[in-house]
Subunit: 497 residues, 2 copies
């Protein structure tokens, strides 16, 4: 057997194992979607056990020695460094090195803890009762510390977590960018405090079925179809791709609030990124978006850069006005577009406008570091939350449901994830500037309901690559630049200052 | 360590492994439910791969040598033969012996073939195009032959399949019972050919949402609740219990047909059996109904013995009449009950009345044996189907969609399963006679909307035992008798002759 034939056999063997791991993760994704969309509540306890077992199984399969041996055989492989094969080996090797550091028992414990804590969080939020959630948060932090200890060579604890979502990004770099943003955002918020835009017109009533109809029309125009996409209602919207040909969005439609439409466009951005990944990467670690921030850049693109643009509404406002004639019949397009772009410091991250949003993230990023360092205790969290919301946004937090309990992330052990939301905003504008440079006036296209050229450009430059390139390499390939807050700040100043 | 302590440790160890296997099967059940209720159609191909991987994984985990060693250590255990522990060891040992005969590659292939064939069947049925399904059926038969070959010591091929659904039942025994039924059923059908009951009144229109409301009311009266149960629409109704606290029914509601209500009651019977299994059996092989026929006996109990009884309708008909005032306003209760009990030879098993139903099953039971023996070829199947439907029921089959393609069972590799439907009918009346002997007049209770005493009796005598007793032992415990068609025939004669 020649060296080439041996390598080809090793690669096939590796792909078979990766396919099996991907299948188990596919199953996990369906179970997770099911638990949030379909499962009767009494099923939660048994389900937590199943998630733990599946997570442990896929972990054990992946970290097994045979994967390491195959990677060893393939590492010396003489392939084009820009080839898919080289990328697969690189990405798999990095993931394998990181994953095998974590004992599968700990992985199972974390999965089980998530199932239990998210149920507790749900109840705690409904009752605005932080005390009942506190022990679960303590437990999650303890598990997270044990996880961090699996990487003793990484000096900054938070870097361990960040690396899971944003390869090659350090806490120091994020701090640098966020410090700059924080200053400018607080200033922008101050300058817009007297924003006269009327956003009461977004309070409805907007009958739920008609909002769902509006969402369907937008999704269709953006390019989804029923053979592959579905959308459901959940309290907390999310997007999921269990596998090829299966893209699932959720939204939360409230009669007194039009934001479900923006949330639908947001989740579409996640969905289309996954949908457009090269299908030859399916069932391998290349088959998903490059990083959390890259992913978020695309959800924010479709939600804000498209969905809050004047061109989009030139096309869609007449339809919306017809659907909601009673509420919007007397509101002209310009007032409506001003209304959906009003800057209003508020309590809830998910409802925040483009200017105040970043400050919600910066608050969480700071608190996560302090919780992990022990300089803030779980017990003190609600009060510190309230004090900082006052400092950053000048708002009074009336209860924990609208304060520290508002997001589910910490309940499901997501620490280190929040900053990628704001990095996503930064990156979205970097990529957008390139798209505009290539395609010219997008606003004009949107006003004709034409979104396919943007989508095609993004597919070609970003989506199809999946995880082939490390996120910062991909960013450089697309924009010619590393992470850079300037385009984002220019955008915000042009739009809001 | 004493022998007792060692055994206790072995039992705990075994239970841990069984729990893991049960978790993988829980995941499979959710994926299966999802594929039939939620999954976008384009996801089918990737999903088939995932099902194959999960099935193979749970199979491999279960047949591993350590399970055999633990069973070896536990076989000599000095426990009360009637204890749960003894039952767990017995049931697990039997299952392990059977399961390990089958190579996990074959198990994976069968799971994948099911995913592919069911999609092909779906399209073939829609187009009434048997030829496009034929290669998939050939493939399923070929896989089934390979499966049968894993049990060379079992002389009758069909016995291998039957044993999977009905422990301890032989083909010869089924033939004996079915030959007797066939003769009497054909005669009964003949005698009722001039049945004057008006079943046109069941053709509606019955608006879908109102039928769903009727179904909800009945389920609630029977004892389901929203924390644990859900019901969805699917083309082919089924019931599923992924795990404790999670019971899922489906139904198919057609505006021109009231049968969705009976199908809902049917699936409730499956659901309540699973719901009421002793929760200490969860995540072990004891934690499900005792056999397919026992299961079916309970779905038929709730569908027919309860749901087509005069007492039930004394309670529910006024409500139904109010819901469907336009269609049923002028129909009195007695005519309605006669209508829903009309005997009408028809094409579709799922729509068949209590008398003709058995003949649909006997046809399939005979064909399965002939297909496996090679005395009937896949190619000839549609014509033979048509000829026998003429012989047994005197009906003309106009196309394959309403003929050989009507059921999905063969597409998902279910051979040997159909006879358990008719055995279920037989057993349902055997158990029912005991319940009536203990509880007295059930009809009078039903007429007050009181179903809890029947349900409680069934829980106590049947449901809670799960798979603790072999099905025929359980039947003897409950009824004092082995399988016996007499009560069933008495019931049919009393009701229909």
């Amino acid at each position: 057997m020649s060296a080439d034939t041996a390598s080809a056999a090793s690669l096939e063997h590796l792909k078979r194992i990766l396919g099996e791991v991907a299948d188990l993760k596919h199953a996990e994704a369906v179970l997770d979607w099911d638990a949030r969309v379909s499962m009767p509540p009494a099923g939660a306890e048994a389900r937590a056990e199943v998630s733990a077992t599946l997570t442990r199984n896929s972990h054990e399969r992946f970290v097994a020695d045979d994967v390491g041996e195959l990677l060893g055989e393939l590492d010396g492989l003489d392939t084009d460094p820009d080839s898919d094969e080289a990328a697969l080996i690189r990405v798999t090797h990095r993931l394998w090195e990181r994953t095998r550091r974590v004992p599968s028992e700990l992985v199972g414990e974390m999965a089980r803890a998530n199932g239990v804590a998210v149920a507790a969080w749900d109840q705690a939020k409904a009752a605005s009762d932080f005390a009942s959630f506190a022990p679960h948060l303590e437990r999650q932090l303890e598990l997270k510390q044990r996880y961090i200890e699996c990487f003793p060579e990484i000096e900054t604890a938070y870097d361990v977590l960040l690396e899971d979502y944003e390869e090659g990004m350090t806490t120091t770099e994020v701090v640098t960018v966020f410090d700059r943003l924080k200053e400018e955002l607080i200033e922008l918020v101050e300058r817009r405090r007297e924003d006269s835009a009327d956003d009461q017109l977004l309070r409805g009533p907007f009958p739920v079925v008609l909002q769902q109809e509006a969402g369907r029309r937008v999704l269709e125009a953006f390019g989804s179809d029923e053979s592959t996409w579905r959308i459901d209602e959940t309290p907390h919207p999310f997007a999921s791709k269990p596998g090829v040909g299966d893209i699932r969005l959720t939204t939360h439609t409230d009669e007194n609030d039009l934001t479900s439409l923006f949330s639908t466009m947001h989740e579409f951005g996640h969905g289309i990124y996954e949908y457009d990944v090269d299908s030859s990467y399916a069932r391998t670690p290349l088959g998903a978006g490059a990083s959390s921030a890259l992913h978020e850049s695309q959800s924010r693109t479709w939600e804000n850069l498209v969905g809050r643009s004047p061109g989009f509404w030139r096309w869609f406002y007449p339809q919306l006005q017809t659907l909601f004639a009673e509420t919007l019949g007397g509101v002209d397009e310009v007032s409506f577009v001003r209304g959906i772009n009003a800057v209003r410091p508020g309590l809830i991250r998910g409802d925040a406008d483009e200017v105040t949003y970043g400050l919600h993230i910066i608050l969480r990023f700071e608190l996560e570091q302090e919780l992990l360092a022990g300089s803030v205790s779980v017990h003190d969290l609600p009060e510190i939350w309230k004090a900082r919301m006052q400092d950053y946004l000048g708002v009074e937090v009336p209860d924990d449901a609208r304060g520290v309990l508002q997001d589910m992330h910490w309940a499901v052990g997501l620490f280190g994830y929040f900053p990628t939301y704001q990095l996503g905003n930064v990156i979205s504008v970097q990529i957008w500037e390139r798209a505009v440079a290539d395609l010219g006036n997008l606003d004009e296209r949107f006003s004709r309901g034409e979104f396919s050229s943007l989508r095609e450009w993004l597919r070609e430059h970003v989506y199809r690559h999946g995880s082939k390139y490390p996120p910062r390499d991909l960013l450089r390939r697309v924009t010619g630049s590393d992470l850079d807050p300037d385009p984002y700040l220019r955008y915000l100043h042009a739009k809001f200052a």
